[in-house]
Symmetry: C2
Subunit: 155 residues, 2 copies
């Protein structure tokens, strides 16, 4: 459940309900020892909601769906599978879970946190792609961090 | 030269002169296509001023010295060499450069920017150590970024 104050703050920043679920998911991933980056472009035209890195470089992708309409509008999700070891959905408790494809993992989420209720089967990345993804996360996260820590820089 | 307003702002945040040089160095690294992370712990007891990653995973370390006393107090710098492909000093224009050891690179820096005046010789990292460093930068940068983007989270 999204508290009214959080919702107001979130929409002031132009965030959609899916982004609020992503916040909850990232908090759950923190607790699982995974670091996470939101809105991560795995390739030029493919941006995932949450990309997470585990302690040994495991790569998880979590797509956040705030409603059935949001889920049905996603034509791209199968394109995410080759870019991770495990693929998860994150939905609210009121989402009709029966429509989700089998063989994915599941987080039940709200804007405050999330619970991992189904671990996805593993389909291991090749070494070269994992290496490129880890370097990409390092570059993206470091660049975004620079924008916070040195807002006057031309980045 | 450090402008008075910047200096005041910096000291309000508890930053030392070396940190101001690091800001300039990071801006120069941006321009060279390197992402950078400040105060990066390469091992448990060894924290470098700036660790930078190049487009193909090149690892540079830059140590920032605001004064001769600051340089002379550093007993640890040789311990940084096994953790990078190239090692650089960053100093202000008034620093007595003759005291710097040969075989290092050099940035001339202030709090607004820096110029790469001497590229360090390359001493290439092994593959396993590079892999661990890139993963470590991804984890550190993503974790620090989370603290900015979700300040209420327990990270």
């Amino acid at each position: 459940m999204i508290g009214a104050m959080v919702e107001q703050g979130a929409f002031e920043q132009g965030t959609a309900p899916g982004v609020l679920l992503a916040r909850g998911v990232c908090r759950a991933l923190d607790g699982l020892g995974f670091v996470s980056v939101c809105e991560y472009p795995v390739t030029r035209n493919l941006r995932v909601d949450v990309l997470a890195l585990g302690p040994r470089g495991e790569v998880w992708i979590v797509e956040c769906k705030s409603s059935l309409a949001d889920f049905r509008a996603d034509q791209k999700w199968q394109g995410y599978l080759p870019w991770c070891d495990r693929f998860f959905w994150a939905v609210g408790t009121d989402f009709p879970r029966a429509v989700l494809p089998e063989g994915s993992g599941l987080f039940l989420a709200d804007s405050y946190g999330a619970e991992l209720v189904q671990t996805a089967p593993e389909d291991k990345l090749g070494a070269a792609r994992r290496k490129a993804l880890v370097l990409g996360v390092a570059q993206t996260a470091a660049r975004r961090l620079r924008r916070f820590s040195d807002p006057s820089a031309q980045i």
